[in-house]
Symmetry: C2
Subunit: 322 residues, 2 copies
């Protein structure tokens, strides 16, 4: 039986991660909008991780894993399965270190994502879009390459890396009352919990989730992990379930999980594009969606909002598909 | 006869403008993209004026004009004619000072622009979309209100305000070889000339213009102002002609004017949205378009690019209309 306690990353791991990854990531800006403040009644501080070079916060955890490998393991590279930003970001980080990165992706993954993985030097092995095919394919790839498995979120190195984002947020603002971040597998939220529970335990951590993929919300209420099979939501980065490590942080440190409908998410996304003038994914709009539908909860507060990624298909924007 | 020499703003006017407007504008971030650097062969520094609260650099000149008024004139407010960002930004600045702003706009102006003017507290008087109707309507409005006329670009207070943008660029980078900005009436380019000709005369200033509205290019080659009547281009902020004050700066300090086709502009716009992950207007894409089509000219150089504005209709993105 796996001993979870041994794997839980510490505040010192996060500090070490920040030193390790600083040359490889951006200290992304925090943007504000007087109009969105007026609309919400809160003071919103948007931490723009969409402005990372590969377009997502996941470059933090991926870089921490890649640059933490010893030279011997590094020669064999890294391996993962992901159809999303983790695949891009791990390929990007491995490319910067000049080591192999093998990614198992469903053949149905968006072409733009596949192109980006290859542009960064990653090698793709396609599988069928099912859990069994993915696991079988991944086992073969890992056996053949010896690449170090870096899970998209349930990995202490990844969580410690993601935790550097809220450290920067606290440095870049004069204090916050709350941080709101989207929740899928829970990597960003866990990193936020890791950092703030030591650095600023007074800050409330709120997770934002699509109604149509509300497994984390139901897990939080039930007190144990509930994993859905294949939820469908426009916020495609948030379909994956919690795992033991991320559940540890969510169950111990998150103040609340709140949900938004597909329409509320699309509206919040469009409002952010229009008034903050950034390109961001539907997943990143879930925090603003829950803030706007629960104004009483956030009114008068200083609220940090994590904008998690900006890799969208510009030919298929959700409001043009309505 | 008007004495132009008396009206030419000085470097000291620009410095005074910066002090005056600092509380009312953002020191916008400079964003970079390794991918766009690789694609162009240059080192590009994007000064993101689209991230100003009202979404355009024009808030600089408008704020300088509004906050430079004496109290007596301020009571009567300001007035202008514009269908674009100057109207929004003058309304925004006047709103911050709490003074009236009267704007004459063609009835055919985009609804989103009209809504924004009203949201900031401006009063719109509609005219027909013709020069004669605009002039007649504006004369009536100004006679009735006594509002101080603030021209969108041919105004020394406006040019001095726009000049603060390149001052910030020089402070935010470790030196530049060139600055590229779009040219319409020439307000931003003139401000850039005003500032850099004193602060960093070694920096080349390149103006970027749509082929389909290349009156500044032809003026530059001919040595005198050529004004077209009604050019048509996707870069709708760049349809207006040079005037005496902006011609002074363009003819004395601009190194070159280069043009791009509609397709090149749309491609550069989409590339910037995708890799820089910002929402910006077609006008702002003209600089990248000319850089990508004249790579030899920019290779190995440190190039500042002014991203002038981000007020676009998200329902009508040009690549979805192709």
């Amino acid at each position: 039986m796996k001993d979870i306690a041994m794997e839980i990353p510490t505040y010192e791991d996060m500090l070490a991660a920040h030193e390790r990854i600083k040359p490889h990531i951006r200290r992304t800006p925090i943007l504000t909008s007087d109009y969105l403040n007026e609309l919400s009644g809160a003071q919103l501080f948007f931490k723009c991780e969409n402005l990372q070079e590969p377009g997502a916060f996941k470059v933090r955890g991926a870089s921490n894993a890649v640059f933490g490998l010893d030279d011997e393991q590094a020669k064999k590279g890294v391996a993962t399965h992901s159809s999303g930003n983790h695949a891009l970001c791990l390929s990007y980080a491995a490319g910067r270190r000049g080591i192999p990165c093998n990614v198992v992706m469903p053949r149905t993954a968006p072409q733009a994502k596949k192109d980006a993985v290859r542009r960064y030097g990653g090698t793709i092995t396609e599988c069928e879009p099912s859990t069994s095919s993915r696991e079988e394919t991944f086992a073969k790839v890992q056996a053949a390459t010896g690449g170090e498995f870096v899970h998209p979120y349930n990995d202490p190195r990844v969580i410690a890396g993601q935790g550097t984002c809220s450290k920067e947020m606290m440095e870049q603002t004069d204090g916050l009352d709350m941080v709101v971040a989207p929740i899928g597998g829970g990597g960003m939220i866990s990193g936020t919990c890791l950092t703030l529970s030591t650095l600023a335990p007074e800050v409330q951590i709120i997770a934002a989730e699509p109604e149509q993929a509300d497994d984390a919300y139901r897990s939080f209420k039930a007190g144990h992990i509930i994993a859905d099979d294949a939820p469908e939501t426009i916020a495609d980065g948030l379909k994956v379930p919690l795992k033991d490590l991320t559940w540890h942080f969510v169950s111990n440190h998150v103040s609340d999980i709140m949900t938004a409908s597909e329409e509320e998410i699309i509206d919040a996304m469009k409002i952010t594009w229009k008034y903050l003038r950034i390109v961001m994914e539907p997943s990143c709009a879930v925090p603003l969606a829950i803030i706007l539908k629960n104004k009483d909860r956030f009114a008068g507060k200083r609220v940090g909002v994590v904008v998690t990624g900006g890799n969208v298909d510009l030919d298929k924007l959700p409001w043009t598909l309505k």
